[in-house]
Symmetry: D3
Subunit: 336 residues, 6 copies
């Protein structure tokens, strides 16, 4: 039997103002349901994996709609708890050219997910037949309940030799200070096999220092040290150059055994910015499971990330065939 | 100078699933901003009054969009405070025929409005040149902050001989028990000149008893007693018969000096159910200011209520001319 | 070769507020192009006739869009002149239930059509192979240019033994007084073979008097006199009962050789009110060309009118098969 | 472990012209994926059952979209085969009032489903842990491949004591003659535990005769005989009165052990006509599994059918709570 | 008390074909209400100013919708006269890449605004507590009534030491010849403190000559002379390079005391071209009121202009914070 | 009398997923009707020609909608046969940036067009007053019926000295092998006066060989030989460079009497890729009829092709004025 990839994370409702309008200019919104976990699993489903979300949603029509949407992405919801009262919601105003994209959150602390206690989840059942599990740093930031569940779950996974993937995803607005985050992040790093992070995380969260000023130099110095210190098999991340809201450049890197490999740089038109990074992470997990060499993993992952910017929604939906074509420079502008 | 009508109340965002779909079936929502206070003032603006909302909205793009929308209804927002973090949101799934309409609220307790302390409002400035002020029972239910502001404001208004209009609007889900509500409601009734309520409010909230079993008998017995006890100039309300979600019947009543007057009954097609009752209240306030006899007030108010069911949105937008035409049976199916 | 049916009339742009909103509530409009002539020909195309519009449209993208739309209805535009500057536009706010439908016109006097001089049209070419021609009373109201063209064209048609059909369609807002209209209408009546009118037109425009108070009595007394006086082969019209904006009742009548025949009464749900009457007229013309007995003509015409209320747009698009099914009580709620 | 309900049937794409327009009037379509099997399972998922579809879909983006949609309804697609080339498509023009609804099919004979040979399905795996299986008469009509699969599968189910539910669903356009259908239908009836049919099926397909002229008399005479002859535990069906496309009346009946029970009659506003009958069937299956008395089954089923007419789409999505409320006359026009 | 900025100008309805279609290809339009005055005030409201429009609108639902829209932009409508019959309308077909954008006007000469006589406005009341007033050259072109009002109002403003801002905005199609315009423009220049114009206006309207062939040389020679001759405190304008309909380049200049300052050049993606210039003007007025040095004014103004090309609608809605970020190169592609 | 341009070809329904979504992400589609023949004639109508389509469409609402749409493009449908059962349909998922565009076809072999026998068309009537006729290589691929009709019709046209234009349009998926195509293509080449093809067609379909490796060298060597061998007056085609799905480069060539002329290269933003090539072909036909020199023809044609990429839909709708402006570098980004 095929093993599953699991992600633990919050599901939020995204309310997007259509047609590049500001919220005050529109009368309609488009909506969908997403979250780092949902996004990772969406891509991995497209790449052929069996996927399962661990989360909690309320017994309201919002919860029902979220369940329906997640299943439509090919993700199993058998282990999504139902109960509590609310769901997190965010509003998205897409930028254009020199105008940036704005995200506005509603209060998520009282969501079903953020209020769920760690005792509510059944770890034994959840972790049966699981190959890899994904966590996101945002989960560490929201409530004590969620933090405890994350750490408990990561430990349980580690015990069962399940690959633990941790995406640092540090969002300054969610934390009082880097100090507050440091201990929690260190605990997770020590449990991780794969870690998504950049040299900035090393410097700011972990407080590491370097005399280098160039980004690549910094990451080449710091991240192998991180890998060694916390015994992390794979560290990976991206470097983004913003030309405008509509045009960006992305380069991926991956570090294993102290070796740093870079992908080629893609400059590309952006259709939907949100979830682009999750396209990268899902490539890393896919490549890891496929046991590819790191050069292939990083090229696949960056192609996955780039295509995630060209499809609608937070959750990547490009097909395996499309990612491979971009990776192999076999792009076809019109197929019929 | 023309005196103003003021309303104090929360502004919420309404997110409506279009085309009678369930939330799980759609990908788009229509939105607007409303609230009992906004709805009353929207109608009164159409009837020719200068109107002013007292509320608080966050300094986010949601708050900006709400401000813009409220102004578009012809309501002044000069005294809307800005600050705090969130806004209340509700989702609307319209029913059809034998399928009912569903409203789902998000957590509103942490909204800017619900968190605003009574000291934040400048009562002297707010109540200058004001003819009438409107409060809604929902405000009593939400947070201590709001309760205190409501009572303070009602007292300040009373002191200045401003007509105080109070709509009981008891929502069971917002209260632990009728007992919890009773004291607060009694305090407001004692400050009110106009009160929107029915015999059910008298029985349940005030704990009054009657041996009558028919609605009209009950209200004719109980409500004049309420008026006398709390010294309320005008008590008014509606009786609704539901034929289906699409077809309903409405009859209005008004009580002054112990005299009960009924409007004729309207049976009508319903387009947008929410805010129908606010159409009635605004008719009562308009008629009161116009110093009409109670028979005319109740006929105007019921026509205002019925038309509010035929226009899009919570906030009534029928014109004075349309309300008068319906009141006078001068309805024209096609005007060109 | 099949002879054509021709109509002379203005083409207007209809801008409809969607979803029963008021103009101040929407941000989008639906549009189409119509006019009494266009509507008549649209139905007649569906009934199998070759149709041709005589009109004038500007050389702008509005004119191009109108040409395109009219052709899409199956109407030939070979004789539509191009030139001038503007097109008439009207805004449609659909009513709902007890709320009526509102039509707001822009200034049409300076439209290409209203400014076109009678010398611009080539009558000989236009009237070749024509079986019937339709005129609308609105054309008499707008400008002197149009009036002159109408009368000239009707005379030229009469000369060539083409059936002249005239729809009185008196719109009070377009005239200063009935007196102003009388002479012009009388001139057209004298040229008409088929005339769409009611007893009200006889009384108001022609100034005829009757002691009867009931509608059917009035029309039975007055309209045969009109037919005789102006030598009109067929007079026809409808009687409308409005239950609400959404539900109406319609009965047709037809008068030939002094004999009045009535259709059965249809009570029906209304989807799009505008152009309903034109559905009736086109039935009368179709029945006339088919040389049906008047009982069949009036039943077909009323079915045509009723179905025109159930389809989107001013221009009737029900198929011949659908009209016949309704006429024969062979309505099928679901066909698959 | 909870047993599953399974349905075998084709998945089609529905392309609906929005806003009651004809196809020639619109520029946009709404789409979804449905089929009798999908519809039954959609309702049963809402009623709390684990559901599984057996079908075949092509490896194209249409197939992917269908898979995604079916999963969003809460139906498992683990046993949906992928392969072949095409999918059936149908166009839906909604009628209004006296205008009927039209369905136009594209060629479905070459769809993946219709071309799938019976050897492609793995019966043992499919029928594990299954409580009931549903077949639709349309499957008998399409291709020899599908017919063979239906009969094979029904036999395999019967062997395993799985409840076989067969909906006659005779569509004249799909058959050359009733004679052609008779043998196939008789074979399925003999394998069925539950059968959806009416007296018309008994008379036309089975060739049974009666002297009764009234519907209820006919069904009371014929259907118990059918049940006895083919050893069918439950026969059920509905009687529909069409008031207009928008308003209809429905009464259910159920026959067990020769006893006929009727539901009360519902007259109701129709929002989406397609799939209404499948709402009834799913009620029958639900009641059967719940082992309810037939009076409760028929009332639940008719409420399920009626609500299926009030929700968007072919596939019923009313909640269990809504169906129970309607069954118990506890309808609430507005819930908040 | 805060002083107001006032603009005098026509309000037009903009009807935009969505999704880059031609009018003949669509069935829907998006609409809003705008005008140079509305646009200027929209931006100034965002920059924190109290704003007031002086105009006239008809007492129709179009007029109501325009009022509602203008208020939604944060502009007071207390001094907008109501009456007359029509509103100007324009149709917008957005270009794409090498295909240009087309604007088609309807007849505006008979609009309420163009027909309003100068006696209708109450100048004393209008000009109370006003800091600056804005006029647009288009107003000079339309009707005699408007011309007279413009000049009268400018004189009255000048008398009261209100800053007069005049945007030349010469539209060739609205004038018979430059000669016709010259006298009127000269009169306005003599009354202006701030003037938006380019070297082309100086050469064509004012008939000035230069031997220079380069744009910057021409403006550096001519515009200081204009400023001196008509005693204009500030002259400002932009230079536009069109790369395609979707990509353009803009550079601003400002002239005070004979000193010319240029902004840096922005190359940017264009979302909505209309009203871009008004974004510049509003920056100039804002900087003038803020008493900034001209270098800062021109940088702010060009950022304001560029952002106005990236937001939906004619009326600029970028926030002060966004303009400052662009001015300071602190652009953030994603803010959350 | 003006002579007509005729095209023979299939009409297909295009179902486009809006807003760059994948089919699994949307709930709505936009549709239109197109085909190589329709596209060519759409452009030629804009360039002032009388146009006529030869095809066959079913007597369903799809057929009616197609007829309506084609007429709306200005194309006469008098010779479109009606009958048969189905229409071809294709689904369009627009790509974005590095994500390609996908077209998915339904089964078209059983369409009315593909099933129509060559005897059904009335050649004498069809070819009266015809100047040029257009065929597309796709027609050769679909069914034997269509192949026979194409060849018969081309021969009949040739007999009458009508210019025969043949677009090779080789689609690999529609053929088993190049060999299968060769004979049929050679037959059509021998009948053609104008042929749209590239060096690839010469090498692959005709099996010609060259030692050149550069595209221009290959076409300069091979295509003049083709022209000579099959006696083709004009051979023309384009060379496309894909920068991304959104940005492409196009250069045209034309060959007459052994002389090769190239257009300048256009790099441009792409809005709607489908039908771009047909914009080129229609330019070639227009230039041929206008008897322009080949340099002008190729510049006009490439401008026509480029603009066809900037307008919505398969069928080019740019105006003659717009094509000429682009050809003459007189592009105006905003015209008002």
């Amino acid at each position: 039997m095929h093993k599953k990839v699991v992600a633990f994370g919050e599901v939020m409702m995204r309310l997007q103002v259509p047609n590049y309008k500001k919220l005050e200019q529109s009368r309609t919104l488009e909506y969908l349901f997403s979250g780092t976990g949902v996004n990772i699993l969406s891509a991995l489903s497209k790449y052929g994996h069996t996927t399962e979300l661990m989360s909690k949603l309320p017994h309201t029509n919002l919860g029902d709609a979220a369940m329906s949407y997640i299943r439509s992405l090919g993700i199993s919801t058998s282990y999504v708890l139902r109960g509590g009262e609310y769901m997190g919601i965010y509003f998205l105003e897409n930028g254009f050219g020199v105008r940036g994209t704005h995200v506005t959150y509603t209060n998520r602390k009282e969501s079903s997910f953020c209020q769920a206690r760690k005792e509510e989840y059944e770890y034994d059942k959840l972790l049966e037949d699981v190959e890899a599990i994904h966590f996101c740093g945002i989960s560490l930031a929201v409530t004590l309940n969620v933090r405890e569940t994350v750490v408990t779950l990561a430990r349980e996974a580690k015990k069962r030799n399940i690959t633990v993937c941790f995406d640092c995803n540090y969002r300054p607005k969610l934390w009082d200070s880097y100090e507050q985050a440091k201990t929690l992040y260190e605990e997770m790093l020590a449990l991780s096999d794969i870690c998504l992070m950049t040299e900035k995380d090393a410097m700011h969260i972990l407080g590491m220092k370097t005399k280098e000023t160039e980004r690549t130099k910094q990451l080449e110095e710091l991240l192998p040290k991180v890998a060694e210190k916390y015994n992390i098999h794979t560290i990976a991340g991206t470097m983004r150059e913003t030309i405008s809201t509509n045009t960006q450049q992305l380069t991926g890197f991956i570090i294993r055994n102290g070796e740093v490999a870079y992908s080629r740089s893609h400059t590309f038109d952006v259709f939907d910015r949100i979830g682009g990074g999750d396209g990268y992470t899902s490539g890393i997990i896919h490549g890891h499971i496929m046991q590819w060499p790191q050069e292939k993993i990083v090229e696949f992952s960056i192609a996955s990330a780039v295509l995630a910017h060209t499809t609608y929604g937070d959750s990547p939906v490009a097909s395996l065939r499309e990612v491979e074509a971009l990776m192999n420079d076999a792009f076809q502008e019109l197929e019929r």
